[in-house]
Amino acid sequence: MNQPLIELTGITKILKGQEEPRTILDGVGLTVHAGESVAIVGRSGSGKSTLLSILGLFDRPDSGSYLLDGQEISRLPERKAAKLRSSHYGFVFQRFFLLKHLTAAQNVAMALVNGQGWLPRRQRRVRVMEALDLVGIAHLAKNRPTKMSGGEQQRVAIARALVRDPRVLLADEPTGALDTETGAAVIDALSAATHRGCGLILVTHDRDHAARMGRTLSLANGVLTETGRVHA
């Protein structure tokens, strides 16, 4: 088999708050290949988002190894982590996080105007329109988020995640604020990215959406275990 896209081994994260230290992740291991989709389910507070933060280089594990394309990246300095986030990762959040004062196209372009290289305006526009087209809302490019439905806003967020053609797509409860039908459409849009070789890690509470991923992993008591696999 090919080299895994992502390989976590023995990831541990302990939260040191005002109370006693609490182990959130306890030796978590995870392997994701290019074009593979993985759902992570678990109860609230089980550490799903913490795991996603570590996967997305927002946070560092206390111990363990994180390989991306075989390269250890768990201890990267912030400058390099930012560069990697820009070039290899796409993020979709439950709350869309669109900027109200920008149009859909400008919100998508935000991922291109981030100080990691420079694209001339024309090329930027082409990339943005391609990304919006991928999620089927190119016609809403000039609309502001306030004039869009929840599903449309989440599609803009997905377009923003896809505009740099990422290797890994991390989605944290992307359907949490949407109705069933719209949520299903969003999952379709995310799944489509895996057909282009992108690895998808979806954190969700929704068992139906999880079932549409290639594998389902459950996080409980800091331990990640596989609970389902779809065989092609």
Partner: protein
């Protein structure tokens, strides 16, 4: 290089988007900063205009900076030596000062000693012989005494005398037997207030002359003074009589630095046993200390006002960063480096500072135009006064500095926003 340029452009684009999205806040920041920047612009403009005015007043009498001034002590041969050395040269001018009484013949002047007309007599009307025996002079009549400066060369190259009316002496014509004179404003007062006939008495002249007044200038002198072509004066008296060592007098040569006149003249004067002293005009250097002190005092006051504006930017900046926590966390999530986040905030505050500076400079220019229009008639220095470019530069610098100072802490705060906690919320 490419990356730096990309970051710079990114911070400008995002900064401008931020300003457009929060127009009211930007306006409030600008208002709080406006007075501070305007104070800096006003102080700098005022200091520059004052300095220019002061300089131009000093230059009126002492000459332009860099001019070499040779003061020649009275000596029987010095007028001739000076005249011969300067003759035909365009890089030097000689000024030989004597006194003249213009007006009714056989009377004492209204202002003996060439005193200003509102200061009473400086000299005596008595007539004394060489051994000091004095007898009362003739009664006072319609005559005025002026300091008469015989000019050889283009004086205006070295001293910026300001024309008030008429013309300056023309040196390209045949010397007239009726000497043309240009009087200063104080002398003009005498002609205005008294019925003075056109007859001029000069000590050592073979006869009285009939002067023609061709112009009035402002020369910064408070004594009544008349300027005359030396060759027109020497039609009536020998050059050696221009100075009488017994009665004093003044010979000054002004020349440009590097001119051979200085060396030749000094050698010739030394040879004749006449003393001379050389100094180079350095008005700006001499005035710099006192101007700098004055400017520093006013700039410190303006700086305090600016500080209030900085506090305003800081306040608005912190509030804005607090509101934009999610935006900054999101930008970090999509790969924006911390330095660029700080750059975005600084770009916004600096652009705000620059916009404010532009507004303050505009207000300064408009204000100066109004002051010039309203007061220009009564105060010649303010007539047609131009906005000094260094005040504009000071305004822009003040705007940028205020933007950087006011944006620094918000920028640090923006750069330190953690992604994980915000995105999880």
């Amino acid at each position: 290089m490419m990356r730096l340029s990309g970051r710079f452009r990114s911070s400008l684009i995002i900064g401008l988007q931020g300003i457009r999205a929060r127009k009211l806040r930007t306006l409030l920041s600008m208002i709080s900063l406006f007075l501070g920047v305007l104070a800096v612009v006003t102080v700098q403009a005022g200091a520059s205009i004052a300095e220019r005015a002061l300089m131009s007043d000093v230059e009126l009498q002492s000459g332009y900076d860099g001019t070499v001034v040779i003061d020649v002590m009275p000596h029987e041969k010095s007028p001739s030596i000076v005249s011969e050395t300067v003759a035909g040269r365009n890089d030097a001018v000689s000024l030989i000062g004597t006194s003249a009484i213009i007006g009714e013949p056989g009377v004492s002047p209204i202002n003996p000693g060439g005193a200003p007309f509102d200061q009473g007599a400086w000299g005596s009307t008595e007539i004394c012989d060489n051994v000091g025996n004095c007898v009362p002079g003739p009664p006072t009549g319609e005559a005025i005494e002026v300091v008469l400066t015989a000019v050889a060369g283009d004086l205006l190259t070295f001293r910026p005398l300001r024309p008030v009316s008429g013309d300056w002496l023309a040196f390209d014509t045949v010397p007239s037997l009726a000497p043309k004179i240009v009087i200063n404003e104080e002398a003009a007062k005498g002609f205005r207030d008294h019925q003075v006939p056109a007859e001029m008495r000069v000590r050592g002249a073979k006869a009285n002359m009939t002067p023609q007044i061709v112009g009035v200038v402002h020369d910064g002198d408070y004594q009544p003074r008349a300027y005359v072509r030396q060759d027109e004066l020497t039609n009536w008296m020998p050059t050696s009589s221009l100075i009488d060592p017994n009665f004093g007098g003044q010979i000054t040569v002004m020349t440009s630095s590097g001119s051979p006149v200085e060396q030749v003249l000094q050698s010739r004067l030394r040879g004749a046993g006449a003393e001379s002293y050389v100094n180079v005009v350095q008005n700006r250097k001499e005035m710099e200390k006192q101007l700098m002190l004055m400017r520093l005092i006013f700039l410190s006051m303006a700086g305090l006002v600016l500080l209030i504006g900085v506090a305003g930017i800081l306040n608005v900046g912190l509030a804005t960063v607090g509101e934009r926590v999610e935006e900054f966390a999101l930008r970090r999530a999509v790969g924006t480096p911390r330095t660029l986040l700080a750059g975005i905030v600084l770009a916004e505050t600096m652009l705000t500072g620059l916009l404010t500076a532009a507004a303050a400079i505009g207000a300064g220019i408009a204000g100066l135009k109004i002051v010039s229009m309203v007061l220009g008639g009564s105060e010649p220095l303010l007539a047609n006064v131009q906005f000094p470019w260094d005040a504009g530069v000071a305004g822009i610098l003040a705007g940028i500095i205020a933007g950087v100072l006011g944006g620094f802490i918000p920028a640090l705060r923006a750069a330190g926003i953690p992604i994980a906690t915000v995105m999880r919320a």
